[in-house]
Symmetry: C2
Subunit: 305 residues, 2 copies
Amino acid sequence: MIVSIIGSGAIGMFYGTLLIDAGEEVHFLCRSDYETVKEKGIFIESKLRGNKTFENIHVHKDSCDMPISDIVIVSLKTTENEKLLPVLLPPIVKKETTIVIIQNGLGVEADVAKLFPDQQIIGGLAFISSSKVAPGHILHIDHGNLSLGYFNHVNEQNIQTIVAKLNQQNIKVILSDDLNKLRWRKLVWNIAFNGMTVVLGCQTDKLMQSKDLIGLSKDIMEEVISGAKACGAELDVNLPSQMIQYTIDMPAYSPSMKLDYDHQRPMEIHYIYEEPIRIAKEAGYYMSKVDMLTKQLKFKQQFEY
Amino acid sequence: MIVSIIGSGAIGMFYGTLLIDAGEEVHFLCRSDYETVKEKGIFIESKLRGNKTFENIHVHKDSCDMPISDIVIVSLKTTENEKLLPVLLPPIVKKETTIVIIQNGLGVEADVAKLFPDQQIIGGLAFISSSKVAPGHILHIDHGNLSLGYFNHVNEQNIQTIVAKLNQQNIKVILSDDLNKLRWRKLVWNIAFNGMTVVLGCQTDKLMQSKDLIGLSKDIMEEVISGAKACGAELDVNLPSQMIQYTIDMPAYSPSMKLDYDHQRPMEIHYIYEEPIRIAKEAGYYMSKVDMLTKQLKFKQQFEY
């Protein structure tokens, strides 16, 4: 089985090297990291799993040079989907290829399906703390479990192989029929804290020292739960309290959007904010505070970059 | 007739000196400005009205030394009301005294009436651009009209005298039966732009360069209009569009709360935000985005001072 990784950031390199460890043939598309990975391989630094260097990587600058693949894992930032996927995917997908989209937000699979209407698609969410600290060097801080959900009918054998191989590597993989619910559930935390840390210019710990911001984070989470409900995803109403407590208990944290903002990279506003708002609105629920946060974020992106 | 000014900032000194010009006996309570005003008087710098120095001012450090007054104009920042009014007012009010509260927000008169249940009260809103640039030195930039509204039954003769005297000075004074509507109308602009310039760290002009912020400002104004309606104040539904256009056309501006924030002074969050939210909620309408803005402002005040 051939696996290709489109988007060799922290997520793509982490799961890609796990699959190498499990014996799969894995190809990586790298742009800025190409020379480093070609020469020195990929270095995964992890207290939890041990440090390991992967040498002799199948690394490519251009997807035209990559083999047609059984599984394509898309782990780009969603801000690049529109521009890159129509170019990168055609050379490596055949009819039987399953595209596994490990990205944040809502509506990504539907947009990929517009580009490739007959393709088999799985959506995925990574629950992981990791970051790329240098070219080809991933720092894995914690966690690593993966939730996958069917967007449409896929070749069961290929995806079950991936699940089994990752399980072998002590990664818990949930494979669910309810992708919509998986995505909405992750949005509950992501919508509240990605945006608020950017707009208020701080990490999670400072927000959690303010009873006003605890209240507001809860308000926003409750809106997301109502949005999810309108879209047919019934989430636990205790989720906001649980997530607030979890956030209070964890060390100071910058969500991915805060890191993007701090480094003046494009923020994933479209799929984490605009699409959920649009989809919930179409289903009859207007997420008022989420809309406000989105407009504030777009202002920040327009003027502070 | 004896007029006392409690709160000798830009508003108090501007209207106070106009009443001196109109021949009234006006007493000023000054704290930090006392020595300067005692020695040099009050200097009003105004391109519109001409510069003028007022000498031999009746200036006092303590309201115990002030005469019992026919009219008391309260032009403190509302953040000081709770602490100062119970101390400052008793020495200068008699049963017949009318208290004229020229302050921003909603609910100020009701709170003053709790302290002085039998007192005659008028609420007032100043439409003026002015600031104190040095002790006893007011820079009057533009406007100056005053809207007054009855909170309860007052001595008509005293208040009509004030109105007539200010009219003599080319200040248009509206005296209205609908104080509630006056206050809500001013809140439409104030709630949107005071908070948003603080939270997003910029002046009005930058907000108006963003279609997202134009949209959000309008959303917030519409919420305030719905809040007003719930409270019995029917405002023109075209107000948001008009106010947005007015704000687009005006030069870069820092609302008073932005100036307070920039100088790390307490912000008038209670009467401009919390009271309107509470009062509208009691009347059956929840201003969701206004509530979010309030929580963001309280966070800013807690952590960035």
